[in-house]
Symmetry: D2
Subunit: 337 residues, 4 copies
């Protein structure tokens, strides 16, 4: 029986973690913390979890946080690194769903997150938790940096083509649209229904904190510098990311050849499906799948890759559980199908 805890459980990623973990018979949820909601039962914030998670949120205090096999941290970026040193003393393994341990370079972190990194000594220990890329390292890790939602969709989409040398690593253009849950659970006019419904808008054009994550993971994964221009957009759906990637090809290629490259690359990946038609968000919502399709725009010598995930599952909580499975020696798909 795995004892687990969630630090920062009151947001959407935390709630999704609770949902996934509560369904398992090999896991016991020891504690869920949330400072602002401390003292409230989980079901007060998430009526969907009534009868499923019968815990109260408590404040995070390392002195009283129960010793666990695995702790998940679902805090906003900046807060994760603050609790991490203490948490690593209470938890055998930690999976951070925030952005604090995804970049190896503290200067790059500061440039994009706009505050200094306060726990740089932990960075070398953190393994980037994309199982399709880093499975072996994750199995051995005690601190995993769970990937960002956009990077998950973009990196899974680009890895096969870059690894095979099919597309040029510079000048890649990525346009993503995300469901609103990706922006977190918060009180603001900007996130209110009437402002987002029947609307689409871009944000953080070129400066999103996921840009250096995409570039550095792809560089480390393929051995060559990668540059991307990334534009995220909000669309009026609750869950899901659709990422459209455009890259110049290095030599003519066909859609059939691409499909074969992608199918071979992900032949052993239980959560990546290379689809025959263009993928759609609806197919992956509430699942840990990433559906992928690569095709060509032959008139202009480019490859177009389409990638969809559920931002709260493969883009957050589901991937975190997948990482927990690997770190604990369980079958990768446990509790995720």
């Amino acid at each position: 029986m795995l004892r687990v805890g969630i630090v920062g459980a009151s947001g959407y990623s935390g709630a999704e973690l609770m949902r996934l973990l509560a369904a398992r018979e090999d896991v016991v949820l020891e504690a869920v913390t949330a400072n602002a909601s401390a003292g409230q039962p989980v079901k007060a914030l998430y009526p969907a979890l009534a009868g499923i998670v019968d815990l109260e949120f408590r404040p995070f205090d390392p002195a009283t946080f129960p010793p666990v096999d695995v702790a998940f941290v679902a805090l906003p970026s900046g807060q994760g690194m603050a609790v991490m040193p203490a948490l690593l003393e209470r938890a055998a393994k930690v999976i951070d769903l925030g952005g604090d341990f995804r970049l190896k370079d503290p200067a790059l972190y500061e440039q994009f997150y706009r505050h200094p990194h306060t726990a740089p000594s932990l960075l070398p220990r953190a393994v980037y938790g994309l199982p399709e890329l880093n499975g072996a390292a994750i199995r051995a890790a005690t601190l995993v940096a769970n990937p960002g939602c956009y990077p998950t969709s973009a990196i899974l989409g680009l890895l096969p083509a870059l690894a095979a040398g099919i597309v040029k690593p510079e000048g890649i253009v990525i346009s993503s649209v995300s469901g609103i849950s990706g922006a977190g659970r918060s009180a603001s006019v900007e996130m209110s229904f009437a402002e987002l419904n029947e609307n689409v808008r871009a944000y953080k054009v070129g400066v999103h904190q996921h840009v250096p994550e995409i570039e550095s993971v792809l560089r480390d994964g393929t051995g060559a510098p990668v540059t991307v221009s990334f534009v995220p957009h909000l669309v009026p759906i609750t869950r899901g990311i659709h990422t459209t990637i455009s890259a110049a090809w290095t030599a003519p290629v066909t859609a059939d050849e691409l499909r074969e490259v992608y199918q071979t690359f992900y032949a052993a990946a239980p959560f990546v499906r290379v689809t025959e038609s263009f993928p759609q968000i609806q197919s992956v919502v509430r699942t840990n799948f990433c559906d992928l399709h690569a095709t060509v725009d032959r008139r202009v010598n480019r490859v177009v890759i389409l990638s969809v995930i559920d931002n709260l599952v493969k883009g957050a909580a589901g991937q975190a559980v997948q990482n927990m499975n690997l770190m604990c020696g369980l079958p990768e798909t446990t509790g995720l199908r």
Copy 2:
């Protein structure tokens, strides 16, 4: 008093035309045709127009179509060219909202529309009805090809930067998301609510019939060959297009410099607003505005242009009315503000 008629009035563009024209006191709507709905009152299909448009749809028959000052054709591509020769004998001026007269080259038409052009002799007479580009020619025209919805957003976004030599004309990447009304009023599982809601998917990647329209209009407008890679997507909203354009810059430029270029270019255009923040679909829904914003992704030497319109207004019926105003010597904004 302008006498007008609409051929193919039962679709969403036709309904929007009826709404815009019925509100005018200087226009009388003489006839609305729709073969499949012939004999039904307009309000049976569009209860919103009850008490506003008290006409019945009738079949299109050139022999009985009333002589009008302006006829609008809102038929699917392929059907517009079939009725056009006869219609031009009944109507002093015609505005075609379909795609049949937008491309000057019948071979290009056949390649992308997948059927031969049957009225090529009319092509030289047709003026591409983008008022911000072709105002003078539109004023003199008797046959106007109203632009496509995606091209309107893309061309308005690219014109200033291309004309000023700020971006390279090759390798431009365009990603658009469109509301569902853009796909027309039709009975299919694919267009049903449950299939499209909480969903996003790309379609016609690289082969959309709007690709040659974008390229040829930009080439004619700027004097240099332009190539674009275009990916359209459907998002679960009823109206609106958001277009994100990424182009390599020819030399470093700042966001401020871009804004000035765009503001100057559109200083006299009543329906283009160069916005200070990123534009959003909600701001232009049910209006004839195109909201535009150009910025830079300086890390990767690219310009990013964001453009939004209502696909049924500036992307169809509103622009058609704007063209009618110009063709008839009326103030450009009549009935559109």
Copy 3:
């Protein structure tokens, strides 16, 4: 030229008022106030109004508020009565879109609004601004209490049947669903997109402040006590109210007879359409129409009335403009079609 001002213009009703008034050539908008947004241009909050309303929000100060022919008050209930005495000295006529002057009985007000009424001496002067009921009184009024959104839909639906004695005035059951804009523009988790999308929930069951408004207006309008059980719900649309009313019939009646009663009752009302099929919200969005249909559930001796409006137009700003037209001796439909 009518000089008008809006007090509390930064909410959705205020924005809709600005949109409607800015389109008119016989109206000049002298001032828009909003304490929290004072100093900001209107377009900063509402980019849709860029180029249309070129004003800044200013704080409300009776000493500097310009003398106007008509002032609209779009403040939350409780705040309207606070500014009213001073405002009536600056404005020849005032239309209050809030709830402070709709109930004649201050005790009833306190019971449902949960704070005391602070300007009871103004209550006798206020005319309930439902033009279809009180046209003559509105024409003569200097203070109009614009109806609530739910009451507009419910009262217009019930008036003909109650006036004709077709349904019993007790035990009426009203179930309404409302778009989210009805809840106002505010920052709260509860009103955030992810909480409301793909969701429906009831609120304020039996205790909504619109209950006494519906009952007392119907009593005054028909001369007999009326009791209703009212349940409002939120549904994930931006605009619109659909109200379903169930009332026991006093004697058997047919759907045809009902239609005739309703058509006769509203024969002279330019904004009420008695529809042949069941009405739908889409038909009235962004219009000042109320679409109505009455039918029978003969198995159980009941009449069922369906009524739809746009909560921001006929349910707020549009009806306020309709009232302004009447108060100023203009045609009732000016600027509303």
Copy 4:
């Protein structure tokens, strides 16, 4: 290992059944039939099921339908009774998700379904499959009529109050709103996105085929005649039903007393949650829960009951699986939590 088959598997209820059954290790899915889609792989219609259900739809032919322990019939009403006699020879137990076996009286069936019943001899054998009401009979049944979606929400809401004599059985008013998937998977303009989005409309007022189902099940369950006036509405969500019930009380009662009655009534029901606050659809989507809340509108001597389910789960496929569990002697919740 249970061998199961699905007749009419290509609709939304069929797809949900496949999703639920494919996740179970104690069930093997032997066949899925769908005449119109015969020959197509399941994933062609439902990409979400790629890698999960690797079957092809085949035409239904009793001669080749494999012998199964349990067959589910998810055909439109009218078609289920046509296949039932033959199917009962191939399947040990059958669960019909359509409406053909829910009413015991063929004349009543014909009145509301508008075609004659063709298998009346099977009606006595059919058990109404609402586990919270008929658990014992379901355990012994070989033919179960799975309840309709609206009736599930309405009957579960009314049973405790009627059984306790708290509300009068006549003149009950029920207003429900349903997600669009309840209307099935079909190609029609009426069901297209642009017609349903940002819209609400009632349909089949007073004549819906679920009316006699609600009345007869409640009569059989409580021993007294029950009459209801039922108005269903479509709202723009994919899944979920919210039912609001208004009934006159027989004697004054408090919300607290109601809660206790409801909690006691459903103490042993694993899928009914009596909620402390008003229930919402979001809490039950993709679950087999019915969330219920009863309160009072004391001013008018009425009880108001709010009930939510997922129309495809507790309202169709989930409840069918719950019935299968009971019929096969399995724990009621297997595969449903």
